[in-house]
């Protein structure tokens, strides 16, 4: 046992003798859910990493084939439960494109606001847990303070904090009130200062820098080849953002930039998300400045739920509501369509095969976490076991979405 690891690495025959297989997870606080990694170790160096997923598999795709379009919506909350608002939006945008519905402008603005709020809330939780894993406890507490503020705003908006189910196919559950918008605006006035606060805690922290710079490097070409998306891809310097290439929300009406890194290491992925805080913040402010008055539900009665007050007072609307909820839209067009949106973790895509009934014939969820977990071995093989924690944090995975 007096041999150091460095000595044992030089001598190949002894390396084999000392190889150790370690099962990390499924119950491990740093794996962000139930992820199991089987690590073949040579001393502290990872020789091989094999992820095992599926512990949270609930068969969302199979369930969706047996539920109609309205009933699938709450399932999407349970994919990425950290930022369920974005998942709801992704699903609604996809179904609307499939049905060919145009949503009113006011709805697009509100959706952009809540989508970006959800991005901030997600990145706050990411920063909190990532810093905690790497050893910076204080950041955790500060981040949760702001995340709570956003969750409280969500609660005031729709009654739920985490599994919101706020958007509806063709619109929203309810309109926002001016006081709520004022409070969001007040939050965004203060938030950039908070981001600075987090940065003072870790930006010049030697331990933080040593544990993130040059760790888990992936080149731009490799990252594209692996199908990475979101901040993890942009950290490698690829300016690919679904918000810029697909038309949804009002991202074309506000000024914002795609944040990119350069080196593709854990530090750059951290920087990208920190920059996205400010971009999202600015998008929300511009949206609140520009938001027009108007209806919130699309004028497509075959696909959208009638207003609640009419359902409760009028027989026709009640029947309409009942049919849509129990049978789904009976005039759905036949066809296949893939629609992606940018959720905080990357590209969330829904691929629908519609056979004209009220249920999707096939619904495929392209989840960013699933792809990112598959990249994990490439990121951490050849590095130290302690770095795997930094790597898992930097790709921002949530296993609910990975396993579906």
């Amino acid at each position: 046992m007096e041999d150091t690891n460095i000595d044992s690495r030089k001598n190949n025959s002894r390396v084999k003798e000392k190889e150790l297989t370690l099962s990390m997870g499924p119950q491990h606080p740093a794996t962000h859910g139930v992820l199991r990694l089987v690590l073949d170790l040579d001393g502290e160096t990872i020789v091989k990493c094999t992820p095992y997923v599926g512990y949270l598999h609930r068969g969302v795709e199979k369930l969706a084939e047996n539920r109609n379009y309205m009933q699938v919506l709450p399932l999407t909350d349970r994919l990425d439960y950290i930022s369920s608002m974005s998942n709801n939006l992704g699903y609604c945008v996809a179904v609307e494109k499939l049905f060919g519905i145009e949503v009113p402008e006011r709805t697009e603005y509100i959706r952009t606001i809540v989508g970006e709020m959800s991005r901030i809330a997600n990145h706050l939780l990411w920063l909190a847990t990532h810093a905690l894993d790497v050893g910076a406890m204080t950041v955790f507490l500060y981040c949760f303070r702001e995340r709570e503020a956003i969750l409280d705003l969500f609660e005031r908006l729709c009654g739920a904090r985490l599994t919101v189910t706020y958007p509806r196919i063709g619109g929203l559950k309810n309109d926002v009130d001016p006081k709520w918008l004022e409070d969001v605006y007040a939050f965004t006035s203060e938030f950039p200062m908070r981001v600075k606060q987090y940065e003072t805690l870790i930006n010049k922290n030697r331990i933080w820098l040593q544990r993130t710079k040059g760790i888990g490097v992936i080149s731009a070409q490799e990252a594209i080849n692996w199908g990475m998306s979101g901040p993890a891809l942009r950290g490698s310097g690829v300016p690919y953002d679904v918000r810029k290439v697909t038309r949804y929300g009002v991202y074309d009406k506000v000024k914002w930039e795609v944040c990119t890194g350069k080196n593709g290491d854990v530090y750059d992925r951290y920087r990208v998300r920190m920059d996205e805080f400010l971009q999202s913040n600015s998008i929300i402010r511009q949206c609140i400045d520009q938001i027009p008055e108007g209806p919130i539900m699309a004028d497509a009665p075959k696909y959208t739920l009638p207003a609640k007050d009419k359902v409760l007072t009028d027989m026709e609307h009640l029947i309409h509501h009942f049919v849509l909820i129990t049978k789904g839209p009976q005039t759905a067009p036949e066809g296949e369509l893939y629609v992606a949106t940018e959720v905080p973790k990357g590209e969330l895509g829904f691929f629908f095969v519609s056979d004209g009934t009220g249920k999707p014939y096939r619904m495929r969820v392209r989840s960013p976490s699933f792809v990112h977990v598959s990249v994990l071995p490439t990121l951490c093989e050849g590095e130290l076991i302690a770095d795997i924690i930094a790597n898992i944090g930097s790709i921002d995975i949530v296993l609910g979405e990975c396993d579906r």
């Binding site: 199979k62 199908g227 691929f351 392209r366 792809v371 598959s374």
Partner: protein, 176 residues
């Protein structure tokens, strides 16, 4: 490049392989025979004007009544040129298999494992084709249309049976 232009390029090179071209809401789907899928994918990936460097998604679809029961849908995107093409490989019910595209896009690895797990489609040449979301000893392919939603009737998952045996002496568990 417009998706239909890509299809024309593809036609000029692999005319006999293309079974069908369809379009829905500006998205173009090309169905091809499964035999030369890796040639077609290599062409789409390497051609400098098409350059599909990003495999967004890969999934299976089951159509029990069709001549080719399964489809593997390749969702290809070019980050450089910003165009998308949906490629579909037609796969028969007997001996459902298709060549793996992992050598072209590393990201296909887990998507193919999932398609194998859910539909039983075998990807030839895949480096590590195991079940991914379901347990290793699971029987059947859950996303096939003939697989019941609640699982096969009157059968418990093997792992659960083993667990019951393991704890049969344990009154606290009290599993019957």
């Amino acid at each position: 490049m417009e998706p239909l232009e890509i299809v024309n390029r593809l036609k000029s090179k692999y005319l006999n392989e293309i079974a069908d071209v369809s379009e829905f809401r500006d998205q173009v789907f090309v169905s091809v025979n499964r035999q030369r899928i890796s040639d077609i994918c290599t062409f789409l990936h390497d051609d400098p004007d098409i350059y599909m460097d990003y495999l967004v998604d890969l999934c299976g679809v089951d159509y029990p009544d069709r001549q080719f029961r399964y489809e593997v849908v390749y969702n290809l995107y070019s980050i450089k040129h910003k165009h998308r093409l949906m490629l579909k490989a037609l796969i028969p019910a007997e001996n459902p298999s298709v060549d793996s595209v992992v050598p072209i896009w590393a990201g296909a690895n887990w998507h193919e494992r999932e398609a194998c797990d859910m539909y039983g489609i075998v990807f030839n040449g895949h480096p590590d084709l195991r079940r991914i979301l379901m347990p290793d000893d699971w029987e059947g392919y859950p996303l096939r249309k003939d697989y019941p939603l609640k699982g096969p009737a009157d059968t418990e998952y093997k792992g659960f049976e083993e667990l019951k045996d393991l704890h049969s002496h344990d009154s606290e568990w009290n599993i019957r």
